[in-house]
Symmetry: D2
Subunit: 348 residues, 4 copies
């Protein structure tokens, strides 16, 4: 039984994905992405997104986000995003590094979702400042968000409208893309390019892969020279087949959706139980696989003493009590959740 709710990246790799890696371990194939797996991945991605897309596998989400943004902006650019977005607080400056110093303009937001109005106002301010200020160049939103919430499609439409009006590419950090997808019950196309998303960081590692993410351009013309950009960033693996094979297995038989459904279901179950415990308070709606709750320090210490794993979450500001993050994954069983809920009841 797993008592580890620290993150969805502490888990092993999905059996299907590991099998695909093993199956790819035959024959000599061309290196640096010239292999049949990588070619098939492009076909698979076009099918998944119902559109000609350009897809570039990389090994992790930091690289995917930083590379995607660096393709859209320049060093004297502004990227508009949520003030506590992963790209702002959790990537040790990777977006600034890859873009040559672009500025992430962080906007405050309830539940992690920035509004079209905020972006428009910030862009207006920048344009008023003129040459003294960085130039508006891109918008980045996280789906599902850093608080486990999900942008409604109409919300993305509003942001995309500003993006189009101001000629700003719209980037989606999809580290938990599949979790948002199964919550919204829509297609990948509906959540991205049909809304106006231009470039996607597609996560797989948190949802069952080993080290596989991808940058997806919905207009392949936007990807000019991206291969050199990826190469010089140290993300062009010589044995690329093993990353591509992970992503192929991820898409195949809808593994990605199945894994995300299990993770989300576990989170929903956990949230339901926690709502019935008056000692804890849910801090955000639970729409994907992350749950943020506050509870008395004593209760929290009790859970830790019983071996449950989770992070105290520094970004949450709560009046009293302590905030923690609980993350479920495709491996979380309902029994794991029930054990946690039972302990909470005992310690309340």
């Amino acid at each position: 039984m797993s008592r580890n709710f620290t993150s969805d990246n502490v888990t092993p790799v999905s059996a299907e994905i590991l099998a695909a890696i093993n199956a790819a371990n035959v024959d000599s194939v061309s290196s640096y992405g010239g292999d049949p797996y990588t070619r098939r991945l492009t076909d698979a991605a076009c099918k998944v997104f119902e559109k000609d897309v350009a897809i570039y596998p990389v090994t992790n989400g930091t690289a995917a986000n930083a590379l995607a943004l660096s393709q859209c902006v320049q060093g004297f650019s502004a990227v508009y995003c949520y003030e506590a977005a992963h790209i702002v607080t959790d990537e040790c400056g990777a977006p600034e590094f890859f873009t040559g110093g672009a500025k992430l303009i962080g906007l405050p937001a309830r539940d992690g979702k920035i509004s079209a109005k905020q972006i428009a106002a910030a862009v207006g301010f920048a344009l008023e400042m003129g040459v003294h200020h960085v130039k508006p160049a891109a918008i980045s939103i996280t789906q599902a968000t850093e608080w486990g919430t999900v942008y409604e499609l109409a919300h993305v439409d509003q942001i995309a409208e500003v993006a189009k009006a101001e000629f700003l590419p719209l980037h989606m950090d999809g580290a938990r893309f599949a979790n948002a997808l199964v919550h919204l019950k829509c297609t990948p196309a509906e959540m991205t390019w049909k809304r106006g998303v231009d470039v996607l960081s597609l996560g797989a590692t948190k949802n069952g892969a080993m080290c596989a993410e991808a940058v997806v351009f919905f207009n392949p013309d936007m990807a000019a020279d991206f291969e050199r950009r990826r190469k010089r960033a140290g993300q062009l693996l010589s044995k690329m087949r093993y990353v591509s094979a992970q992503l192929l297995a991820y898409f195949e038989s809808d593994l990605w959706l199945k894994n995300a459904e299990r993770a989300n279901a576990a989170a929903t179950h956990l949230a339901l139980g926690l709502r019935q415990n008056s000692a804890v308070q849910l801090l955000h709606p639970v729409e994907a696989n992350e749950i943020f709750v506050s509870m008395p320090e004593k209760m929290l210490a009790g859970l830790e003493a019983e071996g449950f794993g989770f992070y105290r979450w520094p970004l949450c500001v709560v009046a009293r009590d302590v905030a923690i993050r609980l993350v479920t994954s495709f491996q979380t069983r309902l029994a794991d959740v029930d054990a946690f809920l039972a302990a909470c009841r005992r310690l309340a």
Copy 2:
């Protein structure tokens, strides 16, 4: 009569400084700072600051700030500063460019003055985040601030205490250093290294020079390789003598203090007059040579129609009315101020 209150950089150059430039126009001298003017500047700066300092002339404040910070931090670093500091909003990303992508962590602040407590909290958050977050590496404060206020010496002490405790170099953006100095009636040493300031961007251009600022390290050991840093940033002028000569004249006979006294006196006079006009509202204490006021749009339009120059200030958020910035300089005469005040009374 001048009706131009847009900025202190719209003025010509002080007669004394122009004379010094003209006087330097004799003989062949070594280029790239190997000239006698630049050597004498170091002596002059050591005398002004009552300490062995390393001083490096550059041509403008953006370069001074960005170079100073780049000497203190690395690309994966955090610089703590006011959220609307000049380095954040007005330098088009120069600090990020020169530092290789360091992140400016902007803190909200009344009157532009950040507190030691805020900084300590932000540093604490960063350390809790660990390797995922940029590393605390420097603090930058602006003296006088972007809102025309001045940090009291005790306030700087508090910030310096955090700086020392966390091993963070303390940078002072002194674009209007002299204006702060004459307000506090203290010595340059008392406002800087005696407080714990490690590196200063010393402004002269807004206070009578043509294109002369300097980066001053109070501990010359901190300046290792700074000459190469300046060179590759395009700030090592071949005919450096003409910049050094400006700074020499700036210090000589206390020209810098005299100029700043005149600018501050005009601002004080202007503030006094505006306070007696019930139609306008002063938005910040007036302690240097910048004044921020809100007034009805109609009154503002009237002033513009009469030829007065000033900027509507996008950073000010005012409930109603419109915010403008008025800047006085060493060239502003009291008659200029009186004319403005009279117009305000007429238009109220």
Copy 3:
């Protein structure tokens, strides 16, 4: 039978390494390198190198080289290396990117081995140029070299002497480290820190791993903040255990040496056979697992027609004929070599 001599990175993964990846696929473990595999890797590396070392796994050689250099130098720095070193010609500017623009000073060299004397002269020139020129900051040598040759230990000693005299960290690009090791029949310690090497890019991918290389600092004090550097470069994998497990298996039971011995033996066998064919000419001594030969275009076309794989090598300048590169790997069987040699004889 494999006719593919294009590179040592077209091969699958060693059975032992794939087994280790599969074996690591159990339980939840801490992410981002906080797992037991990564901890054990440090122990293993210290044992292999007979010294306390700091080892940081990354996913590929470009990242290893660029990160290692970026730890040693600054943007205004010079790195001395062979003019056609991999870091100069094959990494799409990654070293410049990661270092913030350091200049690689390429020195001409027979067989890819630069001399201490050349380096000393180039450093002398730089110092004479002073602030106008980038500052000497590091030396990088490739072992085995880009031409399949190997630096003798005494040669490394001479370079290390210049490095020490000029306070330049000495970096070794060990993409084919194990191949050099088995050629020299010395220990890893003898080929590195006992010679004066400060930081090593340790390759494993070309020699049987999937996506595993490491940066090794022989003086852990040199690694300050390297974790943040790696993080912001997109090389801190969340599921790091799978990279560390590869490297553990690589070292275990001397797999790395066994694999390299097989690759080198195949190359030696190939070279021996080619030397007896008067139509081809070996361009460099064969000391590792790369062979460069020139042959008539007609013969080359014949080999291609028979399905043999290899690259025409643009860097070779040969008077007449065409130059190609042949690479052997741990998977190359002597029968594969014999088939190639037989075809060469037929086509001569």
Copy 4:
């Protein structure tokens, strides 16, 4: 009498240019280039170049070159130039810094003039290397060259042909543009855009200005966002009028040509005299205002003892003897040259 032949940047400023600076010292004018002087400069430049051009004043040649190149290329780019070009050896990595790490591919060249054939071959190699190599993105030539020679117009035509065929912007480092112009006796248009030059670093400082150079785009569409690029590089002076005034005076009444004619004439006179001294050897044709000669160490020491100033030149490799550089300027009088020649004769 001046015995200083070290450089053309040791001189004072031309009387006409200093007068223009003094004359600009009236009234308040808009800052950051919104002044009438800067507006008039654009008109003057269009007239000088007989074309609509975009001209951006900066304070020095390093900034001009680095900014110009950064507008043309990206971090994963290659710039083709002479291996000992000023941008390679004398700007402490500024081009790499401003471009985000682009690689300068240095080509060997007799008299500092690279050939179209060399460039085409290097570009061909890069393209053959594909994604592993930096992408060909620009060509940079220096006119007059670093060896005091001048590209013939037909030579520039040949290089421009490669540039066009490969879609590479052609940059001209015109630190001594006027000296080349008077040598060729052609118009500025004929030496630049009529040949296919896309962007020019126009030098004035070495030829009489104080701190004034400019980046000139012959197709203003190429200058998109250049203002922000200049701003964040610390080259947008608040009191820009004083730089623009220098350039206005530089063009007015053909001051630039008159100054260059005097400098070139002095160099020609010096070369003529040196050719008649069998103890010295001219190392390059003398076509502008720089002379490179080798002479016995004893003779050289004698000249130094007599107070003549010049640099021993580290880049020159001469079989025996020592190489020095002599530079003449608009201030060099023929009597100064005669004194030097007489000393040479005495010391021979």
